[in-house]
Amino acid sequence: MSTVATRSPLKPRKSRLLTAVMAVYLLYTLVPLAWLLISATKTQQDLLSTSGMAFGGTFALFDNIAETFTHDDGIFLRWLGNTLLYVVVGAGGATILATAAGYGLAKYKFRGRRAVFAVLLGAIAIPGTALAVPTFLMFSNLGLTNTPWAIIIPSLVSPFGLYLVWTYATEAVPDELLEAARIDGAGEVRIFLTVTLRLLMPGVVTVALFAVVSTWNNYFLPLIMLSKPEWYPLTVGLNQWSAQASGVGAQPIYHLVITGSVITIVPLVIAFLLLQRFWQSGLTAGSVKQ
């Protein structure tokens, strides 16, 4: 923090013009979200009849929330539970695997390490969605489609997280500390759990947060892996509700799609706001290596 204040000998003055220009961009960022929030307070009727940025005649937010959770036998709650399951197991597992592997690559000069790098980098360049069809067919042969495993297993791998922990561990974990622990007779796993993990924490929180976001927001993978709504996460479920609006015998439930969207966003926004301090320092350290 102090670097920002002390780094320029001139200590530039705040610029109102620059702030105003950025405020315009801020509007672009916030207006759609404001529209979404305002729309979530309207009844379906008001939604269709009143102007987008104005509140409707009745404040229906709480009715909408209640209806979102009870519509279609409370399937939305089930989707929320599924999403939480995928996030806890998938993103949690991804964080653990990426942390251990990133640390291993940073601090152990074992043979074959370069080969591991090469394979990882090559794999990152391959579009994830290009793998979707073969992964689906493989999982289908293994009998894993239409089960939570089809979502969880692919979520366990985060090459970006590995990269982040690797760069972070290189900086944050001094070799001398590891040597000292070894001389004290500690095993490698114990060193990792008692010494390393604490030093890596900001990096780990960052990786966890990004893994949570990508699992929470995952759409393509569940879309292809699941054909029954009972295992849908929120994203696929919402889109299914939205798609109900068109086609034969359509019964639009726009107000539920919009309210459901708000409910889907809120937990992540809160997580990012609360964990700001961690993920921002984690990313900064990660970029030291570039």
């Binding site: 960022t29 609006a245 726009y254």
Partner: protein, 312 residues
């Protein structure tokens, strides 16, 4: 915990094997303990599907008898001569050439502004600009899709205000631009954060030296900041290129709102998806995916080469 396999692959070229060196090797080998689990899952969900996709691409479904027959590289020849594939490919290429520079330009300006120490409430700007990244692509696409719509969206309000159909974001002429806007809205903040993180670690003495040389704000940006974050710019560029070629979520979701403007082969990924799940043409679909993967990897590699040469 003495490792029994220690002597087997001792490197012959090493200098005298002092006890210390041997200990070092033994410790280092335990790195596999940490890397192993990741690699095992990685092999299952990254490497195996690639191998399987290549295998699939060499066969073709038999229409009447069921089963598949080996056709060598026929599928590849078919993809390369497939007008639908090229139409979708050039569409995402156009998207890439326009959207990526706009998005990264905005991200760079935002990162420089937030880093400049001249901005009021810089911390607030940083978090709000980043905020859309926390919004799922599905929600972003639905939200913008509704806003674009002429039943209850802001586009409808605007048209009503102007008294004519001035904007039709969901029509065929506008739709690519509309998708570009959604993707830009989603990812400027993420890219801003990558660039901002790189700006923050520029050593102070560089700024001091620039100030002593009498460099102004823009001179400092050009001569100190931009060269220092070249690596981050390159990473952001490569991620964006890969993302553009993979374009799927936004057009796929908008399709239910604009079925006439977006067809089943709107992007290569949508084409591959619809071949598989609409037409059961798994082998051909795998081939499309591989061809796109190879093209993406080549372009990402070339960008990386050019990027690193410029600085050398």
């Amino acid at each position: 915990m003495t490792s029994i396999s220690a002597p087997v692959e001792a490197p012959p070229a090493r200098p005298a094997r002092t006890p210390r060196n041997v200990g070092r090797l033994r410790v280092d080998r335990k790195g596999w303990l940490f890397v192993g689990p990741f690699l095992a899952v990685f092999a299952l969900v990254f490497l195996a599907p690639i191998v399987y996709a290549v295998w699939l691409s060499l066969f073709r479904e038999q229409v009447f008898f069921g089963g598949t027959e080996f056709v060598g590289l026929d599928n590849y020849a078919a993809v390369l001569g497939d007008a639908k594939f090229w139409e979708s490919f050039f569409r995402v290429l156009l998207f890439l050439v326009v959207q990526v520079p706009v998005m990264l330009g905005l991200a760079l300006v935002a990162a420089l502004a937030i880093d400049s120490a001249r901005l009021h409430a810089a911390g607030f700007f940083r978090i709000v600009v980043f905020l859309p990244y926390a919004v799922p692509a599905v929600v972003a696409a639905l939200m913008w899709g509704f806003i674009y719509g002429d039943t209850f969206g802001l586009a409808a309000d605007l048209n009503e205000l102007l008294g004519r159909k001035a904007v039709e974001p969901l029509s065929g002429d506008w739709i690519l631009l509309s998708i570009g806007n959604i993707v830009t809205w989603e990812f400027v903040g993420y890219n801003m954060l990558i660039l901002y993180s790189a700006l923050k670690v520029i050593p102070n003495d560089l700024y001091e030296a620039a100030a002593i040389d009498g460099a102004g704000t823009f001179r400092t940006i050009l001569s100190v900041k931009l060269p220092a974050i070249r690596g981050a710019v390159m990473i952001a560029t490569i991620f964006s290129i890969i993302g553009s070629f993979q374009l799927f979520n936004e057009p796929n979701i908008l399709r239910s709102l604009a079925p006439n403007a977006i067809n089943t082969f709107y992007t290569p990924n949508m084409y591959a998806y619809n071949l598989s799940f609409g037409g059961q043409q798994y082998n051909y679909s795998a081939t499309v995916a591989i061809v796109m993967g190879v093209i993406t990897a080549i372009i990402a590699y070339v960008v990386q080469l050019r990027g690193s040469r410029k600085g050398a």
